[in-house]
């Protein structure tokens, strides 16, 4: 297992795309965080202890406005690449001759991808929160909230990356996996949610919308969202823990299927 972890870590760190995506993620998110912070500051409407503003800056709007969480999408790409590259370039044969235990290879990929995604997601969010605290001096900085956001974003990013990893392992096709992992949360879930929540005819099954995995998972970091307005229609999303568990369960199912097939299929 140690050998598999060493292999996976070096696999990740010797790819340029890892560094590019992480650098782009850091620069864009922190740049946006700074812009948002400056915009709020110039609007001059900073009220003391306003946590929504901290979240707005630290997650570039994702925590307050239904905007996609950029860092999670970037790591979904890295998750897809984790297995996508193996099959696209025939690397899987080289990998399994260097580390013959498939269980170890799969577990190492899951652990390294999840750890990297969690760390980068959490650190970027903490840095974003730092920018908010620096620029918006009126926020007195409730450290607990910044930490909660960082944990939520980190966890969501890690789970999102693992969904990408599992899909690429199941499909063995990078493009198909990328399409599914990007379209599922942004388009498919939004459509299903609209169908379930708006027409009164579906009121009986409306609660199912709470279990849409990506939307449920986003409750890990969302503090205020347009969906909150839907409670007028009787829609009541899950909380951070419940939503996180739904998303984690969804991810675990995908990983289990991918892991079983990875061990059984021909490389």
């Amino acid at each position: 297992m140690i050998a598999a972890l060493r292999y996976e870590w070096r696999r990740l760190t010797t790819l340029r795309s890892t560094w590019w995506l992480t650098a782009i993620g850091a620069v864009v998110t922190l740049g946006l965080a700074l812009l948002i912070a400056l915009a709020i500051a110039s609007a001059g409407e900073v009220s003391e202890g306003d946590n929504y503003q901290l979240g707005a800056v630290a997650t570039q709007g994702a925590a307050v406005g239904g905007v996609p969480l950029l860092v999670a999408y970037l790591f979904a790409l890295l998750g897809v690449f984790c297995f996508g590259h193996e099959y696209r370039h025939g690397m899987i044969r080289a990998t399994l001759t260097a580390v013959p235990s498939r269980g170890a290879v799969f577990a190492a990929k899951v652990l390294v991808t999840a750890a990297a995604a969690f760390l980068v997601g959490a650190v970027i969010t903490l840095l974003g929160a730092g920018i908010a605290l620096l620029v918006l001096s009126a926020i007195d900085g409730e450290g607990g909230t910044a930490l909660e956001l960082a944990l939520g974003v980190g966890t969501y990013t890690a789970l999102f990356a693992l969904v990408g990893l599992a899909l690429a392992s199941l499909f063995r096709n990078q493009i198909a996996s990328l399409v599914v992992v990007l379209v599922m949360p942004t388009v498919v879930e939004a459509v299903i949610q609209a169908v379930l929540v708006f027409p009164p005819a579906f009121d009986d099954v409306q609660f199912l919308a709470r279990y849409l995995p990506f939307d449920a998972g986003s409750q890990l970091y969302v503090q205020l969202s347009p969906n909150d307005a839907l409670d007028l229609l009787g829609y009541d999303p899950l909380g951070a823990v419940g939503g996180g568990l739904v998303f984690a369960g969804f991810t675990a199912l995908l990983l289990a299927a991918a892991g079983v097939l990875f061990v059984r299929r021909d490389a």
């Binding site: 050998a3 598999a4 060493r6 292999y7 870590w9 070096r10 696999r11 010797t14 790819l15 340029r16 795309s17 590259h85 370039h89 025939g90 690397m91 044969r93 080289a94 399994l96 001759t97 260097a98 580390v99 013959p100 235990s101 059984r264 299929r265 021909d266 490389a267």
Partner: protein, 329 residues
């Protein structure tokens, strides 16, 4: 020790039995060539041996299956296909990646890069590599752990003549140090120069295994060329002793079924004059075509052949005008 033992390997893809009850042994100290027509299951067999494909049967390396080997690259080096690397990871980093899982130092990485002649492009992206350079990187990966056993699928593919010569010398030397080499190739002339022993398969089944010379001797093309003015007397006696005599356009006769000494002895017994008596050795290519002719999967049809008539299996058609028949292996 570096013995490979394959036991009853089998692999089925849907209705097609790709590898069927295949058993063989590769002993240290020799280069064992792995021959078979296209699609006969060579690559599948190699993947089965390394546990990359799931099938039936078992392969052990000094008694251990590949999946049970700790730091496997220190025991078995493998080259399975052209270009099994990420196009933007440098050659050196590709090897460092494999090394990371097998406790191999960066110094050894640089050493094998030097050995295969890739030092100059070690920090270059392999997407610009030619097929031959990619193959060298694959060979470097196989040698990385200083293994006692090499499993190489078509390693000469894409190599220039210098590269092929280097590889041949290297593998022979490697085997001479008491190591095992199991190498497939479709280049029969190359295999004849490189291999000491052969495993020959057709349609996933074992056709022959043993020393190259023994395999070549199984060829029906191995014969005795005879010139004798007394053939009317000699012919019937040779036939009686199990020989089959066939006249050639140039007036000579080709005797199969008896060796040169036996034909000479018969001539002496009955007092027949003999003007020429030579052994004609078959080539590895001829022996291979004969042995696999019946089991070849994709037999090429002949242009202008009668419609509906099955194409003759290669190696079966007599070819008296073949200029290569007299050449020794």
């Amino acid at each position: 020790m570096a013995t490979i033992e394959a036991q009853a390997l089998g692999k089925r893809y849907g209705p097609k039995q790709a590898v069927d009850d295949l058993s063989f042994r590769v002993d240290p100290g020799s280069v064992t060539g792995f021959l078979g027509p296209n699609g006969s299951g060579k690559s599948t067999t190699m993947r089965l041996m390394l546990g990359l494909d799931n099938g039936v049967g078992s392969t052990t390396f000094d008694g251990m299956p590949f999946r049970s080997l700790g730091e496997p690259m220190r025991h078995v080096g493998a080259l399975l296909e052209a270009k099994p690397f990420h196009p933007t990871r440098t050659a050196r980093n590709h090897l460092r990646l494999l090394a990371a899982a097998n406790g191999i130092t960066d110094a050894r990485v640089d050493q094998v890069l030097e050995l295969v002649g890739l030092t100059a492009v070690a920090r270059g992206k392999p997407k610009k590599f030619s097929l031959g350079m990619g193959q060298r990187l694959g060979i470097a990966a196989a040698l990385l752990g200083d293994p006692h056993t090499l499993i190489l699928d078509e390693p000469a593919n894409g190599l220039d003549p210098q590269g092929i010569q280097w590889l041949r010398g290297f593998l022979k030397d490697f085997a001479a140090h008491g190591h095992s080499v199991f190498v497939s190739s479709h280049l029969l002339a190359e295999m004849a120069l490189m291999a000491d022993r052969l495993v020959v398969i057709g349609r996933g089944r074992l056709i022959a295994s043993g020393p190259v010379d023994d395999f070549v001797k199984t060829s029906r093309r191995r014969a005795v060329v005879l010139r004798s003015p007394d053939l009317t007397r000699l012919g019937p006696v040779l036939a009686e002793r199990g020989g089959y005599v066939e006249g050639q356009p140039d007036g000579s006769f080709v005797v199969t079924g008896l060796d040169r000494d036996q034909v000479g002895d018969v001539a002496y017994e009955i007092g027949a004059r003999v003007h020429e008596l030579t052994s004609r050795e078959a080539t590895l290519e001829q022996a291979f075509l004969e042995a696999t002719g019946v089991s070849e999967e994709f037999v090429g049809g002949s242009i202008g052949g009668e419609p509906g008539s099955p194409p003759a299996p290669p190696g079966r058609t007599p070819d008296p005008g073949d200029p290569n028949v007299a050449s020794a292996r």
